[in-house]
Every structure is written in C-alpha cells, then in structure tokens.
Chain length 233, copies 2
C-alpha cells in the first residue's frame, strides 16, 4: 500500500490569515485603557489568568476574550474602572469581530496550486460564527472540499476528519502554526505534521517541537509546501 | 421511487432539552439588578434591541447574550451602573454556561425507539463550544449518526445536511420547536417539518405556522413522533 499523501488539512488562524496580531493589539489597548485606574502592573498577565480561568466555560474566540477583558478590568481596579472604559473595551472587541481578513503571503497561489492534486480540508478551532465570517471574507472557501470548525483539536479530531474527508490520517498532512493544536495531535493520529511558525502564537499553544518524529516537517512559509509535498511518500 | 422518510433531523434547544427558560430567568435577573440604577422601564425591551443590533456580530449563544447584557446595563443607566452589578451580570451568564442539562419529557424513550429504524441527525444552531457541552451532558450523543452545529438554519443548510447524512431532503423529516429555523426552511428544502411547540420560544424565531404546506405536521410532544412517523410515506 502506497503511503503517498492524498489529503491536506490546513489550520486557518495565523496559517492562512492574520489572527493573533489583532488579539495583541487589543490587549495593548486594554492595558492602556485600564492602566490609569489600576494599581500594580502586569495587566496583560492578569488578563491571561482570567482567560485561563474561563477557558473551560468560554472556549476559544473573541467573545470569550471580550468577557474576560471586562472581568479583568473590574478585578484589577477593585471595581473602580469607569463604565466608559468598559464601553471602550466592548467597542475594541466588536472591532476585532468586524475586522477585514488579512490573508498571509503565498497563501492564495499555494492553495490554488495544490487544489488540483490534493483533497484539501480547512480545520479550524474557535467560534463557529466568527470563523465562518472569516472564511467567507477570505474568498478561499471554494478551494476546500470540506470545512471543519471544531472546539478542540486533538488526536481524535484528526482521526475523525481525515477518515471522513480523506483516506485516513496516515495519508494526510496537517499544516499549521500551532505545534500543540495542529502538529503534535496530527502526528499522533498517524499523519504528517508540517509546522509553519508564525511570529505571534498564543502562549496557551506553546509546546516543544517534536523534532524526532519521522513525519514532522517545518517550512518557513506556505509557499514552500508544494515542494515539500512532492517529496513525501 | 418510494418517499418513505429514512432520516430524522432533530433540533436540540427546547426540542430535546430546556434552553429558553434559562435565558428568561437571566433576563429577569438582569432587569432586577439594573432597575435600581436606570430611569424608565422596559429594561428587557432595551436588552432585546441591543441583542438585535449585535446579532450580526455575535451570532447566537450565551456569550453574545452576556456581552449584550453588559452593554445594555451601561446604556440604560447612562453609565451609572456600578461595576458590582456588571460583575453579577457576568456571574449570571457563567451560571447559564455551567448549568446542568434538563432533558424534556418523552425524549429519551422516543429517541431510543426511533434509533433502530431511522438515521438520526442532531442539527443545532448556536455556539459550538456550548452546544457540544450540552450534548455531552445530555448523554444522548450515542443515538445520533451525526451532529451538525451550524451558525444558521436555512434551506441550504437542510439540503446540505440531508444530502450528506441521508437520502436527500425529500426523504427527511425535521423536528423542532422553531417554525422559523426548524420547520419553514426544512419544508422549503423539500422535507417534512414536524413542529413541537414549546411554551417559550425566542421572539426572533416567531413566524406564522405554514398550515397549508402538505408536509407540515404538528405534535404536542416528542412522544407522539413514532406514531406520526409510521404514518408518513
């Protein structure tokens, strides 16, 4: 049985389009808005603590981030934050939700080139409504045979998706910027994992690169994927 | 070609388990918390206006509802709402997100009974993360061949889902409590629509019953579905 890959799974946020940078900009804005009313520093660290605490209830996405910012603003100011600041925090979150999609370099031509040869599946984590908005705004939807928006990316997720839309995980390649969500579980499911580092990756997604895994690969940008693909077998 | 139905789609919120009542209770709590700080009345009406304004950005679900409550509390009080009230609003929303699932009467035995005869698909709208939590908590997941959590229920949604998981919409029955989301678009897609009214249905979901549609049916509760199903052909 040949093990040539037939199917490619693509992460979306920070693999196909910018995402994390909008969170960072909004965190900066949050810290700036709250700083005048809070004693002590490390407002962004406090925000991260609240996000971590809420993750099990809110999951991933901008709305949960907005709720955590409001909660943190009240908490770090001992309740003294003015409601005008809370209004501005909500406005900053709504701006994120309405922000135009910024597709990363090499993405469009690379996806176009691979679409004739491979079955391509978009596999993204987070808020269903917001991810659908981004996909629609990206203009890339037509290049994918399937789109899977999931609440968690684990071994079982990749098994199920590559069984459903491809020839099983051992004939599949997963491409993404998060070692924890895109690469490690895809490798564990039996697939290839192609890691494309992004300058900004959320701290919750940090793990060590599995450099010894025989099916682990790394490229500098998506434009290097077609050549890598033709070398896999 | 026989047109006996082979597939049943089930809505979840207020069809299989309670949902709207938790929103109503939280709205009451919201009005009670804000009333002391707001001039004028109809706080729930103002909340609904804000929800409607935000629907295009937030979609459906508890997190968006929480954000709209915070925004309304600031708006209706001219910014004078104390942050302790905002904290309590957030806590009320988190309680909704953590609330145990309350399965409606007749649901378990009816689904059990139908599962041997029909392909069953859960088709629910809203927040991916929260809907998955509710499905897991319900213990009903094993009865469904597929689960589709969607951001919008329209004609295209039902065509796609019943093509993928069944024998097309004309061999499918959609069961739910929302005429607008469950019944009308399923009928328009060519399927049957079985309406099970629930005491509480969100005002955004109200439309007139399509009583003249030949494939429209209505039952009082899910326990009447097996008999109705055996009469369809």
């Amino acid at each position: 049985m040949s093990l040539t890959p037939t199917t490619i799974g693509f992460d979306a946020d920070d693999t196909l389009w910018q995402n994390e940078q909008f969170y960072r900009l909004t965190e900066d804005r949050f810290a700036e808005l709250v700083a005048d009313h809070a004693e002590g520093s490390d407002l962004k660290g406090r925000l991260l603590d609240v996000e971590r605490r809420n993750l099990k209830l809110y999951g991933f996405g901008i709305k949960g981030f907005m709720l955590s910012m409001v909660e943190t603003a009240i908490e770090v100011t001992g309740g003294k934050v003015p409601t005008t600041v809370i209004e501005k925090i909500l406005a900053a979150g709504r701006e994120m939700l309405a922000h135009p999609i910024e597709i990363l370099p090499h993405v469009e031509e690379t996806l176009d080139r691979l679409a004739g040869t491979y079955r391509m599946v978009l596999i993204t984590k987070g808020d269903l409504f917001d991810q659908e908005r981004k996909l629609a705004g990206s203009g890339l939807a037509k290049l994918f045979q399937a789109v899977e928006i999931v609440s968690e990316k684990n071994v079982e997720t990749y098994r199920r998706i590559f069984d459903r839309h491809g020839d099983g995980p051992d004939r599949a390649v997963m491409v993404g910027n998060s070692l924890k969500s895109d690469i490690v579980p895809a490798l564990e499911a039996g697939g290839w994992g192609v890691y494309i580092p992004h300058d900004l990756t959320w701290v919750f997604e940090h793990v060590e690169p599995p450099v010894d895994a025989p099916r682990f690969r790394q490229v500098a940008h998506l434009g290097e994927l077609p050549e890598l693909m033709s070398g896999l077998a």
